[in-house]
Symmetry: C2
């Protein structure tokens, strides 16, 4: 399969882990809450357990085991459980809602904004995340992410790696699947996109799951069209 | 009904006529094509007839007389008719497609980008147009429109003033209808939004249909929450 970078018109990005450091940001927010409430806890484990609720939730929706709910709703379901489990008692409803929206305030990886800004001069750049639209919009304002368009599984009533999400994104952009490149730090997302004809870009994020955690994928496989270790290297490989 | 500007979190904008000068831009593009082909014509009438095809098309979809088609598709249907009518013969398929996408290259009104940029410091700002997503994204890049989010009737499979479009936009943003303000130069759009609980902002565009054409609405009625003659006045009234 020959690949020519000039065929690509739009780059759509996975967000959690690929563009933003969800784990570091969540650990920081939850630590602050714990400190305020005078509660000690393993906040790394809290973050991982919270994230797992979302991963399981999107899978259950995708596989038809439950009807569509948003990332915000999944985060809140799991948060209510974790508040009990970690003894974070005494928060008002407003404080719990604010903590739930920590996922709207995740910080970008240090190289992301510069790389995306370079790419934006030549391509349409957007999200294609399982996070809900409101979450992604608030996160972009928080982190200065220069998206041209915010697309979400929510737009299609299901979640990646359902082919509907990848094909729906191309359709909304008025492009053929082969004119759209899915960009992610996760090979399963890229394989899902490639299976329905999208191009694929891999950006390694070695510390997504914590320093030295082997869960992070460090190198692409041969099926991936473009692969880089940093956003800057990726922008260069895409001719910007 | 009391209105407090601090309740509003997001502003969503009608685009054709409200943010961009569709008529002036289309007249300019079609004149250029006519000149190249050595054809003389009433290009103002061409622009108005082209626009009417879109207005009729969105109405037919909204009223269920035909299944959903995009603005690009409606523009092309009418363009094919107008090419015959005005004798614009001799264009290649690529040239016709490029002309059809003149709607992706409409210029913003001179005060729009400054006003929107000010509003963006305090609010989420987005489109809520009957134009398709790809068209709106390309137009934003062309004109430097600083949207946080691009929303379209296409996201909801129907067209304004179907209530689904206004309520769908609030839902995607994770906001209550009363936290979203529909902004337009057209009262029917604003009345449609208000009927399902959105707030309303009117920005007069006196020359939308040509200098002195009385089809332009110059003043809001009492039902409208915020009204202004320019984008700058509007930004000021919204506290930015």
């Amino acid at each position: 399969m020959s690949f020519n970078v000039s065929q690509v018109k739009a780059l759509v990005y996975d967000v959690f882990g690929t563009v933003v450091d969800w784990r570091g940001s969540i650990i920081r927010e939850v630590s602050t809450v714990g400190e305020r409430l005078g509660v000690e806890g393993d906040w790394e484990r809290f973050a991982d357990r919270w994230r797992a609720g979302y991963t399981e939730g999107t899978r259950d929706v995708r596989e038809g085991h439950r009807s569509f709910i948003t990332a915000d709703e999944m985060h809140r379901e799991r948060l209510d459980i974790l508040i009990d489990e970690f003894g974070l008692t005494g928060m008002s409803e407003g404080e719990i809602d604010h903590l739930n929206k920590a996922w709207h305030r995740l910080d970008p990886w240090p190289d992301a904004v510069e790389g995306l800004t370079r790419l934006r001069s030549k391509y349409v750049i957007g999200t294609l995340s399982n996070g809900n639209v409101g979450l992604l919009v608030n996160m972009a304002k928080h982190g200065g992410l220069p998206w041209d368009v915010v697309l979400s599984g929510q737009n299609f009533g299901t979640y990646k790696q359902d082919p509907k999400v990848y094909l729906g994104a191309a359709d909304l952009l008025g492009l053929a699947p082969g004119e759209v490149m899915m960009c992610a730090a996760h090979l399963n997302d890229l394989h899902g996109a490639a299976a329905v004809g999208l191009r694929t870009g891999f950006i390694a994020r070695s510390t997504e799951f914590g320093e030295g955690n082997p869960k992070a994928e460090l190198v692409a496989d041969d099926s991936i069209d473009v692969s880089a270790d940093t956003y800057i290297e990726f922008a260069e490989k895409m001719g910007t």
